[in-house]
Symmetry: C2
């Protein structure tokens, strides 16, 4: 069997610690090509670059691995992979991360890491985004390699349901090993924003967006529960946003047809 | 009954033709406050500004309407509305648009217009994104006002199911009036990217992202069908991305638990 072609991207930028680990692990499983942002793209959601130009430059940051840095977003990176850098070859797998910081719960919609994975899924390529629930850029990653290999090998073996990407979050390193892997649903939660209001040297007001995560969900089948209990959380994610249950409600309630 | 407080945003920028129309219409229905980007933010997806500062400046572009322009993304605008500009008042409705260009089908995930609406829905505020399937910035908007008023009035009257925002797309102006309003599901489709490859004056390569829309869906209950048949398409959209049908599949198929 030929080795699978694995496209690796992320949102923290090509020189981050998380993508270095992911590239090393993926080399054990297949032929690796990296296309990652040339600068941090956290919080970019599913942004793409329209109305501006894109650059793609070969990078020699990973020994023996073909790699490119892209001036765009994570979604741009995957688009440039399939549309240009791979010269017509289709990857067998897209992996993104390992993100420095949680992408559980509602954070999935703000996540550049997950946008790269979802961009793969849109192209019918099995795709996984990996994130570590530790915002420290020098965080200890020694406890997550085994699960990354297990989950990726499983996806290479059995594929994924059509239209689905995986949002995988790992708990922060603790004294005990991670207890296992849980398939979860997205936690119902939100960010309670606070704006840190300051004045620049010219006397003009500016703001920093900050916020607190508010969990509104008491379920034990949610990704936040898994992380809080030292499990790896796997949420299957869809890019069909249709709220199917609402179609009937609107058709029944509305009187403007 | 007090007039509802309506927060208006968009992604084409505060000086676009589409938001001007939306503000004028919303003034018929409630008390309006505008917080919109100070520059075009198309394709920004659900990006938010972290790692950089935000500016918020009062704008006098709309006669008699409190308005602010924000240096951030559409999602930032809604966050700054509830977190700062509204001084603790909660809007009764968030509306976004009218976008110059289609946000049907998979475009919903790249859409800044819809990210403002979804940001409202996350806060349990009924929210609607409006888009016109005409990319011309001076497009004729004379045929959509009536449906904007009808749909918005309906949402003010009956609310929306919890966790749901509306993605409303209007067909381009045609000789006959729009034929009606259809509740739809998101069309299964993708963008087939093409990269327009050029060389800058310094001899360095750069790219423009272009692409063709590929409809892979033959259904008649989809937003693309509605638009093609001169109907207004309303898709209820969820920000819970969990692919619930996949949870059982993964639990059954995987052998790594």
């Amino acid at each position: 069997m030929p080795k699978p072609l694995i496209l690796v991207s992320n949102d923290d930028g090509i020189d981050s610690k998380g993508i270095k680990l992911l590239v090393e692990l993926m080399q054990q499983l297949g032929e690796v090509i990296v296309i990652a942002p040339d600068s941090p793209q956290s919080g970019m959601g599913h942004a793409i670059t329209i109305g501006n130009t894109l650059r793609l430059t070969e990078s020699y940051i990973f020994d023996g691995v073909k790699a490119f840095q892209c001036s765009g977003t994570p979604a741009d990176c995957v688009k440039m992979g399939k549309g240009f850098a791979l010269k017509g070859r289709k990857p067998d797998l897209v992996v993104s991360g390992v993100n420095h910081g949680s992408n559980t719960s509602i954070s999935v919609i703000y996540s550049g890491t997950m946008s790269a994975a979802i961009e793969g899924a849109i192209e019918d390529i099995p795709a996984i985004g990996f994130s570590l629930c530790d915002y420290d850029e020098s965080a200890d990653l020694s406890h997550i390699g085994e699960h990354i290999l297990q989950i990726t090998s499983q996806v290479i073996k059995t594929g994924l349901p059509k239209g689905v990407a995986l949002n995988v979050n790992f708990p922060k390193k603790q004294d005990e090993s991670i207890r296992g892997i849980k398939i979860c649903r997205q936690t119902r939660a939100k960010w309670q924003e606070e704006f840190d209001q300051r004045v620049d040297p010219s006397g003009v007001q500016y703001f920093w967006l900050t916020g607190n995560f508010v969990n509104q969900d008491k379920g034990e089948d949610i990704d936040e529960w898994a992380i809080a209990n030292n499990y790896t959380a796997v949420v299957p994610v869809s890019f069909d946003l249709t709220a199917y249950h609402a179609i009937g409600t609107l058709n029944k309630e509305w009187d403007i047809f």
